[in-house]
Chain length 201, copies 4
DNA sequence: AATGAATGAGTATTCATTCAT
DNA sequence: CATGAATGAATACTCATTCAT
């Protein structure tokens, strides 16, 4: 366990400032002068800590992707032994993600709007990460099918990606509403009903 | 009804060429020279038909957004009178969207990857369009609730956006697989089950 | 035989302007704005004809090296059959070089002062070119030795490089005097005496 | 006579380190970080002993020019009273220069390749120094002419510069060959023959 | 005295846009 | 109408120099 030194701190400050600016204006509309102004430092200072503009953006985005993935993939997919346990697990995951989005909109904006915006190579990586999240969700589904509390006839990979879509739509929504806490609860209720019991009355 | 003249044709050719290039390389990585090469014409020609690079991209993206919205919102939300009719309607809509994505990947890529990439103002517009689609889907849900064949306790707006998320995740998936027709059928089957009956066994 | 088109002409104009500025200020002190000003054109124009500043300088210097080498190596080393013929040949070569230096000081300055100044790689190339010129001069010496009108005991390669040194010292001198034509004649007289008969009285 | 204190020593160490790096990479490709690394000290240390990068380079080059000039101009031009004495003198001078080049390639490279590379003002100074060396050599010639053992009809200034050219070509050669001691002897033999007796057989 | 983190002036290069032909 | 040569505003990046510690 090494103590973070002054250089690491400075690095983090720059990364935080760059994250704010990129989240605010978008990667392509952000220039080095904007980041310098946000931090209150000279341009040259960045280039002591980051190779170039692309490098800063990639690290900001990667950090955001890691934070989001951690919120979504924090617990093992095999532990739920009943529908109720799984429902509780899904509820926890949804709350974790939504709370992260509400507490750190910069992280969320980097993930949703900038991760794929830097260039083609980064977009591919973003989609690969979404596929991974889908596969991770699929593992939960498979666990439920194996244990008999989830329908056997659905395709776990398809459902994994579909639920990804639902949860990402919800998270993106949290960024756009004035009272995100209320919105979060409306989402969790309705989506859990949809997910477990369907819309048919 | 005016007949399309030569100028309109040329315009469409340029728009098609620009769409292909932007879908291929992304808005920010595309330059006028790329589009000129794709069309086999001089740079100056664009500026006779479009105000500037931003203008071309906006029109290409708007056209793509219109095509996707048409596929999703082709039929009136109030016509289904039973669960079976609604299920058939949903199936038709999903097929229309997926088939469009498969047949015209350029349109799909513009919608999914470029609509929000041009600048902040366009990103807002893209999200507003997604919200509109969500409201449109919500109208179907409300119709089903009013007629009694869909659960009354779910929030139609939430479900509208959530189903948006599912269908967009599916459509994005179609762009990334080698056999999209098979993928489409897997998706429709599993997602309809999820949507109407839920995952609980 | 293709006619030079407008693009070739423009290229040559830019190369000439860059040559003048680089000869005047030196490669490292020259910036693109200087060259633009000299030609009366925008910066961007250069980048239509040359890859970058390095590329312009290399082409200017290479052209200068070719012109100097042509002046020095214009006639075959084996033709002189007697001392008088060789002396006439040396006189012609010296005059050609000195006249070139006098008529085109820009070419001369590029050769003497800039060819090795761009970077290490170009300096190596410059010294390799000097070695080649030395070997070429050595061929004249060997011809004279074979035919018996030049001393057999001197090392042709050494003499080739030594005479290079003499002639380059003279050419560099032409660039620095106010009456180069008179200087040229003084040089040719004294150096021919040195070269063929030595200093010992 | 003041004893060199610690500060003078440090100064010399920095000058030596800078000389090595500049000789290795060239003035314009050398940056302060390179010199700091070579010395194992911080950037700021230089600025306690030298005004700036230009100042360090100028002092390194000036020292090299002094060392070369000392080797060439170590003995008075008037002492030789006969051809044999002069020939011995020339031989000594050539050996001194060549041995210096072989023993201290850093000094030689600074003199040959960097003295004129810093900027125009330094290039002028370098050429003025070469002119001075030429005048110094001319004094030897004039001594020989006065005493009657060298040809009266050659122009001493021209011959001074021409012999400069020969000896510099030779010294530059020493830097480029794998066995410089053998090369030195080949040069001295052939060049003395050329110089005193000429090439005509 | 020594250091090296911080700085920002300076510069090469790109590329959307114009307009003379 | 069509062209593409010319343009220069805009911007990322470097590196000599300073100065607080």
């Amino acid at each position: 366990m090494t103590a973070p030194d002054a250089a690491d701190l400075k690095r983090d400050q720059i990364l935080a400032a760059a994250s704010r600016v990129i989240a605010e204006r978008g990667y392509h509309a952000t220039n080095i002068a904007d980041i310098a102004r946000e931090l209150g430092a000279g341009h040259g200072t960045f280039y002591r800590y980051f190779k170039n503009k692309h490098d800063i953006a990639v690290q900001a985005v990667d950090r955001a992707m890691r934070r989001i993935a951690e919120a979504l993939a924090d617990e093992p997919p095999e532990v739920a032994t009943s529908l109720d346990e799984y429902r509780a697990q899904v509820t926890r995951i949804a709350h974790r993600l939504f709370d992260l989005v509400i507490a750190e909109p910069v992280v969320a904006r980097l993930f949703f709007f900038e991760a794929a915006a830097i260039n083609r190579e980064r977009a591919e990586r973003f989609h690969a990460a979404l596929d991974d999240l889908g596969s991770f969700t699929a593992a939960y589904i498979r666990n439920g099918q194996r244990r008999g509390f989830l329908r056997a006839e659905v395709d776990p990979e398809v459902i994994g990606l579909a639920l990804n879509g639902v949860i990402l739509a919800g998270a993106a929504r949290m960024l756009r509403v004035s009272d995100p806490a209320a919105e979060r609860d409306r989402w969790v209720d309705s989506v859990l009903t949809l997910m477990f019991h369907g819309l048919a009355s």
